[in-house]
Amino acid sequence: MIQVVIVEDEKLLREAIVRKLDGKGIQPIPFESGKTALEYLKGAPNMPDIIWLDYYLKDINGLDFMYEIKEDSRLSKIPVMVVSNSASAEKVSKMLAVGVQKYLLKADYTLDDLIKAIDQILAQVKKEQEQK
């Protein structure tokens, strides 16, 4: 079963995502803040397949979250998909530069679209691993 760590501080959005993933047979592991998610990830016995990350969190922003992930060799391999309310060119290029797979604008996509995006990323990652 695919595991997705969800970092989204908006309760309702988190709830919608969890419901959708559950319905699709994907296991959601939701967090309401960046720090709790990082704490979990650092101590988790198994790594999730992907991280669903909001950029603007109350305690930390997406870029700092990425820096923390990239510092940990175990976590740095997890693909990250940013789903945010704001996607200025500067932010997007910075996030892609630190290793984010996709940067999507929240309101522009349905949950179905976002699950398709997860599938694409996972397929891509799998393809890259096979090539290695």
């Binding site: 919608a16 419901r19 704001s86 060119a89 604008l105 349905t110």
Partner: protein, 517 residues
């Protein structure tokens, strides 16, 4: 009678009288006297003759001469003395004095002439005095007018000087001939330092992000030289100390009797307006971003209802949830458009030109909207001139233009119609044409087509979905890309839009934001 004749007559009468008197009265009397006095013996013959001559002289010549003298004096000398004295009185200034004329002779005529002359002189003096009075009156009037003029001039100057915006007037060469107090305060130069200088040596105008003042110079010089209508420019001015501030400038030619003799530059500090504008843009941006969170929630929960995760809906419930979902989607589009407009309007949009094949770009857009036109059983046909050059434009911005025009054509055309795209080169421009055989734009609405939030009356009824921001955004993009946009439309027959992009390309701009972010 003439005086000479009179005198001749008097002398003649004197001679006749004296002869008669002498012959008949004096000679006998002298003879008698001589006899009576018996003086003959004593004096001899010559003595007697001498004595007789003496008596004749005494009794005849002297009295007659006296009489003649008295007569001549009365007739000639007295009147001349009178005239002389009268002339002296007149000379002393009494122009009312006249000679008493008693005779008709030359002296009388002299007196009359003198009287006439004095009369003329008096009336001439009177006239002169009258004229002098008028001149004095006029002078008083003139002085009054002059004072009024000076006051009015001072008032005008005070008026100009007190204008709350900067005012600089120049002659036809651009030399400053007038500045006001506000100019001094705004630029940090003293009036006496500015007067006589060429204006752009004192007023350094530039674009916000560059040092260039070419545009400003060009426009103002054109205005002055060609006498065209006034020019309005928003730019930045540098103070004496080098600090920049934003201004709205109006440059107008000064025209008198058809001749341009200078220009007047009016400038207003718009720091506050710029600040308010920036705050407005920031507010829209912030509000729009904030709106996205609840919109996503609405959209996602409607989706969850529709996908049956929480149990199957009745067909009516499904329809209602569908409406919620569509409305949320529309609102997301509206928010995106608002954000794009606030970005374009803020002038902070990034323009990142890349060599672009417009035909290829248009084909990509056609592919993106394939589902939309196929759903309506429409066809999109693209054709182009051969060997069109790649031009340096921002593909992300121009893509939005094709996208909006094409989406409109699909949306506002009935089922089964064709949409034609034609890309061609005309001189130094690449022209893109998007034609449909759709509902068209009513004549009365055509003037407002590019206005923000405007939607034509006929299509509001046909198609409720739409923000009225698409064409506004298209025009803003085209204009910031140095192109033009125009259209032709007939209600019920269709619409064609054309937009041009310069072959020379769009200059890059280091902005801060991009579309759709």
């Amino acid at each position: 009678m003439e005086l000479s004749k009179k005198i001749a007559l008097i002398v003649f009468a004197g001679v006749v009288l004296s002869t008669i008197w002498t012959v008949f009265m004096v000679l006998p009397a002298v003879s008698a006297l001589m006899s009576v006095l018996a003086l003959t013996h004593q004096f001899g013959y010559y003595g007697q003759v001498a004595l007789q001559a003496l008596f004749i002289y005494l009794f005849s010549i002297v009295p007659i001469s006296v009489i003649v003298w008295v007569v001549v004096r009365r007739m000639v000398v007295n009147p001349i003395i009178h005239i002389n004295e009268t002339a002296k009185i007149i000379a002393s200034g009494n122009l009312g004095k006249r000679v008493d004329i008693v005779s008709n002779d030359e002296i009388g005529q002299l007196g009359a002439s003198l009287n006439a002359m004095v009369g003329n002189l008096a009336s001439a003096f009177q006239n002169m005095a009258n004229s002098l009075g008028e001149v004095t009156k006029k002078e008083v009037e003139l002085r009054k007018n002059f004072k009024a003029l000076a006051e009015s001039k001072a008032q005008d100057e005070a008026l100009l000087t007190s204008i709350g915006d900067g005012v600089i007037a120049t002659d036809h060469e651009g030399k400053i001939i007038f500045t006001n107090k506000e100019t001094e305060q705004m630029l940090g130069w003293k009036t006496e330092e500015m007067i006589g200088s060429i204006w752009d040596q004192v007023v350094t105008a530039m674009e916000e992000r560059s040092e260039s003042l070419d545009q400003v110079k060009h426009t103002t010089i054109q205005t002055v030289l060609k006498g065209g209508s006034k020019a309005k420019i928003d730019c930045f001015l540098a103070k004496r100390d080098g600090t920049k501030f934003p201004v709205a400038v109006t440059v107008s030619p000064i025209i008198n009797a058809g001749v341009i003799f200078g220009m007047i530059i009016l400038f207003r500090d718009i720091t506050k307006e710029k600040e308010v504008d920036r705050m407005k843009t920031e507010f829209i941006s912030l509000a729009s971003h904030q709106l996205r969170t609840p919109l996503s929630a609405i959209r996602w929960f409607a989706e969850l209802m529709l996908d049956g995760t929480s149990g199957q809906l009745s067909s009516e419930q499904h329809e209602l949830a569908q409406n919620i979902s569509l409305s949320a989607e529309r609102m997301v589009e509206l928010v995106n458009s608002l954000l794009n407009i606030s970005r374009i309007e803020s002038g902070r949009i990034i323009i990142d030109p890349q060599p672009t094949d417009l035909v290829q770009l248009a084909q990509e857009v056609i592919k993106d909207v394939e589902a939309k036109y196929k759903e309506k059983n429409q066809k999109v046909v693209i054709s182009a001139h051969e060997a069109l050059p790649k031009i340096s434009i921002d593909p992300r911005l121009v893509r939005q233009v094709y996208m909006n025009l094409l989406t409109n054509a699909i949306k506002y055309s009935p089922q089964g119609t064709d949409i034609i795209i034609f890309i061609s080169r005309k001189g130094e421009e690449i022209i893109s044409q998007v034609s449909d055989s759709g509902y068209g734009i009513p004549k009365k609405d055509q003037g407002k087509l590019f206005q923000k939030f405007f939607r034509a009356e006929n299509i509001i009824k046909v198609e409720t979905d739409g923000t009225g921001l698409g064409l506004y955004l298209v025009k803003a993009i085209i204009e910031s890309s140095k192109g033009r946009i125009w259209f032709s439309s007939e209600e019920g027959k269709g619409t064609t839009f054309w937009f041009s992009l310069p072959v020379a390309g769009t200059p890059a701009r280091k902005g801060e934001v991009s579309l759709d972010s």
